[in-house]
């Protein structure tokens, strides 16, 4: 008995439902969530009409506050109020301490797993980010009246593997299904490109609170091709503030270390002054150093410009390098799009204009453009726009390689390679009878391992003893569409294999994440079970839907026995999904996947030849 219902050819038997999807801009200073509503992207606001959520989490005794409510505690309770957590995510403790020496937090945990001690216990930067993400998720679910099927989260293009992985882990903790990690400048280009309908080469200059990205893209017939990207994952408006703070400390003749609360006060004054100087020539700064000691100072725009000019120059240097990587001259740039709050600073605007010799575009709100682009991409990825002709081709921001003899780096995937990508390279043993090989995966542009970011180490064991140079060890690097790396190694003659999901040393382990999820739930065991069951059921329904649609469209690629096999597997999956037996569902899923593997491959190959056949017809 056939299971399939009759439907129009090419259409799914399951009626198309609009899936709720959203884009999240998880920023250093502010975060936003946006969604596509009746065709256009909109940011979602809280009850008081605010769409911008300050990226601040405050751990107070009675509850954990996020956003504006947390902001109120920044000066009064700096140790328990975490700001700019994005600058800490995916970094080692010594890295954090050397980059940001005057943070008010009590750090604990070990070198590779830094934590902040708060009155609610120790928290990892990933958990802090998860608080922000989960706050935004609930805001969206309230506004849209349903659960989100998936979310696109933006990250700086320059984020390395550890920072990306940690962001994804934060989403997992927040119970969010991540459709894709999208690079912020690419998201901005999508929002801008679709809004203006313009084509050509554009530069996206994205200077946020904590990060700087420059991306060069070619826009052509719905294709957003990133030609090159560069930047600095620790350069942003916060650094402008730090420079101002240091200047003020000097002017006020203060001696460090200062109290955490005074540091916060200085930070706030600096940030306020910077913002005021965007539209005024001078601003008054007032500090209460202690109860009877007040200090005031007048800061001019000229002084500000002098202070931040080295930082702005650093961004321009990154622009030059990216143009070179893209093989694009300044004259070829049609438009420069400004993104991020820090592009409001007049010096930034004027220097960028001078550098690119064109007036930068600020038509879309630089604070919202990234979230809007992410929402558009989320809508497409969720499958709400099957007719969409948009394609994003993004790249790896940093070169990926392996350590070789003498502490040198052998690049396997150079920076600015279009993703997804898989590259293999062969290595050999250097000692007679060597039976194991240590692999050290690094990321960065420098020749020496010590100057690059160490991502992971793993070992390939059980290589048969041979003379030096006789073994052929094939190491494969794969970077997926989220920009995440996995590495595997294989000795060719024996087929002995070893692989690693590059879970960077600085992130969380899988078991830590599931422990945290457990801890965050009251009836831990039951809830985890329920969550897993639901995840399996969702995956099962995705599989059922897509296989049924595939059979209707392409059963001609199969012989009758193969069709029958698949139909039976689907039939039993449909049946088992209605139970709550997680293992049985998993089994049935595996049977369907195994029975459809060849079918899926044939369909993909047939769609490839059809795509180009269509193109050939177009040419005639």
């Amino acid at each position: 008995m056939a299971l399939l219902q009759i439907a129009e050819p090419g259409q799914s038997t399951v009626p198309h439902e609009h899936r709720l999807a959203a884009g999240i801009d998880l920023g250093t200073t502010n975060s936003l969530i946006a969604t596509v509503l009746s065709g256009s992207a909109k940011t979602l606001s809280d009850e008081s009409g605010q769409d911008i959520l300050p990226s601040i989490v405050s751990y107070q005794a009675e509850q954990t506050f996020v956003g504006i409510t947390a902001q109120a505690y920044t000066v009064a309770d700096p140790e328990n109020t975490i700001t700019s957590t994005k600058r800490l995510i995916g970094r080692s403790l010594s890295d954090i301490k050397s980059k940001y020496p005057s943070l008010p937090y009590q750090f604990c945990g070990d070198e590779n797993h830094p934590e902040i001690s708060t009155r609610k216990g120790n928290v990892n930067p990933v958990q802090v980010s998860a608080e922000i993400l989960s706050h935004l998720k609930f805001r969206a679910q309230d506004a849209l009246g349903g659960e989100l099927t998936g979310v696109v989260i933006t990250v700086p293009a320059h984020f390395d593997d550890a920072q990306r992985q940690s962001t994804k882990d934060a989403a997992k903790l927040a119970g969010i299904n991540v459709l894709r990690l999208l690079n912020e400048p690419t998201a901005a280009a999508v929002a801008y490109g679709l809004d203006s309908g313009k084509e050509g080469v554009i530069a996206v200059y994205d200077l946020g609170g904590g990060t700087f990205d420059i991306s060069i893209l070619r826009l052509h017939k719905g294709v957003f091709e990133v030609l090159a990207t560069g930047g600095d994952s620790s350069l942003g408006g916060d650094d402008f503030d730090v420079t101002i703070v240091n200047y003020l400390v000097e002017q006020a003749k203060l001696v460090r270390p200062l109290s955490a609360s005074l540091e916060r006060q200085l930070m706030q004054q600096a940030c306020f002054a910077k913002e005021q100087l965007s539209c005024h020539d001078e601003v008054n700064i007032n500090l209460s150093i202690n109860t009877n000691n007040h200090w005031s100072y007048s800061l001019s725009r000229a002084t500000l410009n002098e202070l931040i000019s080295p930082l702005v120059n650093r961004t321009l240097r990154a622009c030059r390098r990216s143009l070179k990587d893209a093989s694009v001259s300044i004259e070829e740039i049609n438009e420069v799009v400004m993104v991020g709050g820090s592009t409001r600073v007049p010096l930034v605007r004027s220097e960028v204009e001078k550098h690119f010799n064109t007036k930068p575009l600020t038509t879309i709100d630089p604070d919202k453009v990234v979230a809007l682009g992410a929402a558009i991409q989320a809508d497409i990825l969720a499958g709400n726009k099957p007719e969409s002709d948009i394609l994003l081709l993004d790249v790896t921001p940093l070169s990926l390689g392996l350590e070789t003899m003498g502490g040198l780096v052998e690049k396997v995937i150079p920076r600015n390679t279009t993703i997804p990508v898989a590259k293999a390279q062969e290595f050999t043993t250097f000692k007679d009878g060597q039976t194991a090989m240590a692999l050290h995966v690094v990321q960065g542009e420098r020749e020496l391992v010590d100057n690059c970011r160490s991502l992971a180490r793993f070992e390939l064991r059980g290589i048969p003893a041979m003379t030096a140079g006789a073994a052929h060890i094939r190491v494969t690097f794969k970077v997926d569409a989220d920009g995440l790396l996995s590495v595997s190694a294989m000795e060719k003659s024996t087929g002995i294999e070893s692989s690693i999901e590059v879970k960077p040393s600085f992130g969380l382990e899988d078991k830590q994440i599931s422990q945290m999820i457990k801890d965050s739930m009251h009836n831990a065991a039951d809830d985890i079970q329920a969550r897993m069951l639901k995840e399996q059921q969702v995956e099962a329904s995705r599989v059922i839907e897509s296989v049924q649609a595939a059979l209707i469209a392409d059963s001609k690629l199969l012989n009758p026995e193969e069709v029958l096999l698949i139909e039976n597997a689907i039939k039993s999956l449909v049946h088992i999904t209605q139970t709550d037996d997680i293992n049985a569902i998993e089994n049935a899923l595996k049977i369907v996947n195994d029975s459809t593997a060849i079918f899926a491959e044939r369909r993909m190959d047939s769609s490839i030849s059809q795509a180009l056949a269509g193109q050939a017809v177009d040419k005639i």
Partner: protein, 175 residues
């Protein structure tokens, strides 16, 4: 299916890059993982794999040196590996000269101009070499393929020099 068949273009060294790019985009619109984000995990994995293959094929055909190497290997030419010794001593001597020129840039009174001079020499010489190689590949007989292979190896020397020029440039003009 070889890369030329994949992109539905004639297997020649002299390819139309805009045609290649448009075929590439059409293929990616079909196989890119973004099209499969809402489907089963199996489909998503397959899409990542196919999309990576298309990317690899595109990068190979787009870049003249990689394209040459790919075509020669497809023709069954025995490609010597990079460590294998190189018999053209005249060429090697000249490479040493070029390396010395590169090292002298740092000592020059006007490094920027010196760098540009070296770059121009490298560009001219590698252009001449690649034109000869192109003719040899197009000729496609045993002798010409083997000669093309030698020239490809020479061009790789220039490619390495260019990487060093870039490094030098970055170190000279940083800050």
């Amino acid at each position: 299916m070889n890369y030329f068949q994949l992109f539905n273009i004639a297997p020649s060294f002299d390819i139309d890059l805009s045609e290649l790019s448009s075929s590439y985009q059409t293929l990616q619109k079909t196989v890119h993982p973004d099209n499969f984000a809402h489907t089963s995990e199996q489909q998503q994995r397959l899409a990542v794999q196919k999309s990576a293959q298309v990317n690899d094929a595109y990068q190979t055909l787009k870049n003249p040196l990689k394209r040459a190497e790919y075509m020669l290997i497809e023709r069954g030419v025995d490609m010597p590996n990079e460590q294998q010794s190189f018999s053209d001593t005249g060429f090697l001597m000249h490479q040493l000269e070029l390396r010395e020129m590169l090292e002298d840039i740092q000592l020059s009174s006007n490094p920027e101009a010196a760098l540009e001079d070296v770059q121009a020499i490298l560009d001219n010489e590698s252009l001449a070499l690649s034109q000869i190689m192109q003719t040899q590949i197009t000729e496609n007989n045993r002798a010409s393929n083997s000669a093309a292979c030698d020239n490809l190896r020479k061009l790789k020397f220039y490619q390495k020099l260019n990487i060093d020029v870039e490094r030098l440039e970055e170190s000279l003009f940083e800050d």
